[in-house]
């Protein structure tokens, strides 16, 4: 695609890492990073909900024209969706980048397993278009692949021994 950036412990939640793929034309695809709990063995997704508040559903995002008028504007911490698992856990996926929401992936609503099978392609969460002026700056606060790998390694080393 182009460049990969990562955000770890999004919203302070341990290991809830996201991966942002940015094209050379500045468009960002928000996906889950491999280390995210949802992508670990044994997790079954029960439902995915794009209704993030009483007034706001990401499914109602309507974008028109070349300049994408009417799009919902997202900040880094804006929630994209809430995912519930069969074990009762709930996870929120966040935008990680500022910009206009283009679309959320409706394919995973019908078949949530795609999210786990192909998290970096067909299982993407959302597409965001940052402002032209901010195209580079939005990724400055994110991790490179190398930095991310170092953090993941540290986590594994710090993990208490399981009996």
């Amino acid at each position: 695609f182009s460049q990969q950036f990562l955000s770890n412990n999004v919203k302070g939640k341990p290991c809830e890492d996201h991966c942002i793929l940015q094209h050379s034309n500045r468009i960002c695809v928000i996906t889950l990073a491999e280390s995210h709990p949802l992508l670990q063995n044994g997790k079954t997704i029960k439902s995915i909900n794009y209704q993030i508040s009483a007034n706001c559903s990401r499914l109602q995002n309507k974008v028109s024209g070349k300049f994408k008028r009417g799009a919902q504007f997202l900040t880094e911490l804006a929630p994209l969706c809430r995912i519930s698992c069969s074990d009762g856990e709930e996870y929120t996926v966040s935008s990680c980048v500022r910009g206009r929401l283009m679309e959320v992936n409706e394919n995973i609503l019908d078949k949530p397993s795609i999210l786990q099978e192909k998290p970096s392609t067909e299982g993407y969460i959302a597409v965001v278009l940052p402002k032209f002026e901010e195209s580079k700056s939005i990724t400055e606060g994110l991790l490179t692949q190398k930095e991310y790998e170092e953090i993941v390694v540290k986590r594994v080393n710090n993990r208490p021994e399981t009996s």
Binding site: F1, T121, E122
Partner: protein
Amino acid sequence: MFPLAEKDKSIARLLFSTGTCPRCIFRFCGVDFHAPYRLPYKDLLRELENFLKTEDDDLSLEAAKPPLKKIRLQDEETQIDDQSQNGGEMIAIVKDENVIPEKPYLNACNICLGILQEFCEKKFIKKVCQKVESSGYEFTNLVFSVSFPPQLSVREHAAWLLVKQEMGKQGLSLGRDDIVQLKEAYKWISHPLFSEELGVPVDGKSLFEVSVIFAHPETDEDCHFLSTSCPDCFKPAKNKQSVFTRMAVVKALDKIKDDDFRKKFPCPPNLPKAFCSAVEIQCAHGAVFVAGRYNKYSRNLPQTPWIIDGERKLESSVEELISSQLLTVFKAESFNFSSSGREDVDVRTLGNGRPFAVELVNPRRVQFTSQDIKELQQKINISSDKIQVRDLQLVTREAIGHMKEGEEEKTKTYSALVWTDKAIQKKDIEFLDDLKDLQINQKTPLRVLHRRPLAIRVRIIHTMETHYIDEHHFRLHLKTQAGTYIKEFVHGDFGRTKPNIGSLMNGTADILELDVESVDVDWPPALDN
């Protein structure tokens, strides 16, 4: 034969006394055939004076003579100042009350400000033609466009009201249409002079335009009173310098009541201090169009120059390689390149090539034989191995429509080199050959989403033909509807193009190479080259 009759005498006398020139007098008397206007000014002036003279009229003729500038012999300094003001025009030297004109154009006409005086006569036309000839344009006919300052319409209107009133006294009416338009009379006189001087006919449909703009800054404010009487006619437009355009002024004159007009503007119009001047004499040639088909053999060549932040990212472009040669040969100002669709930087165009057209703006050279064009085609083909052109020919603007039609309606065929993640055998791809008119839904590809609206495109893949290469590669030939994104059909674009080759094969596929095999548009006509 002098075109005025006894019935015209009172109007002619009235207008002459206010400072109107002979040709404008003809116009207001409804003289609507060309010949009288084309006679030389001084002859017209003489004949008019004779016409207006009556037997015992010497005294009244004095009174009726136009109020020329009367300079006393003792006022020599003022005489010199006035002379420079008039650009060297001679001034009447007054002896007693008699006025003897030194040169014909003594005063600028109070209606046409000189347009139908010196500016339609041979000397001026010759000056314009000199400029035309030195501009270096090639032309076989011309269209002459002339622009007058808007206040001329105001003066015309004032003169009309005056004449209308005078005719009313005789129980006659005078409609606007009974008067010959200034522009019309001007063209009657100037067109034959242009043809004679340049040796080509004047033709309204000509692509070569000679334009003259007249101005008279001294009276520019004459129109301003109209904005108070008819404010809604004068809306400030961003592009225009002045709100008082000819159109707006004409519109306001249509609306304003005769009484209101007469309160704000003198009827008859007063004498101007100076003649108007030709502030711009320009020539331009309408665009000519060259069409053809191009092949692209490079996987590193953009269609249009690729420049980011002022820096060129890739050397040259399809349009520059084709158009720069044309620009030089046609001696044009600029070009506009368009084609029946286009391909990415890394895609080749094979087969008969893709139709294109180049608009050459304001060309100085326009006469080319088909041999000339053939040589031009060879020149382009020798200049680069990245592109080649064929069927190069001159076409009309209307013909371009065929090309754009092709973009939306006609089919294209492609050849793609496909990679698969799963190991495949020949039999695994055979089913693709049997899929006919496969409908696919493509969301706007992410790679163009920054500049295209988000939408879903329904497209048809008409036929496919596969050629097995090895466990992870095969060649895919396909014939698709216009506007299909081939790369996305192969790799799926995050599942946003459905179905795609990957999904059809229950795996993941990617595209390594793409070629356009044909663009199925039968325009421009093939030449045997």
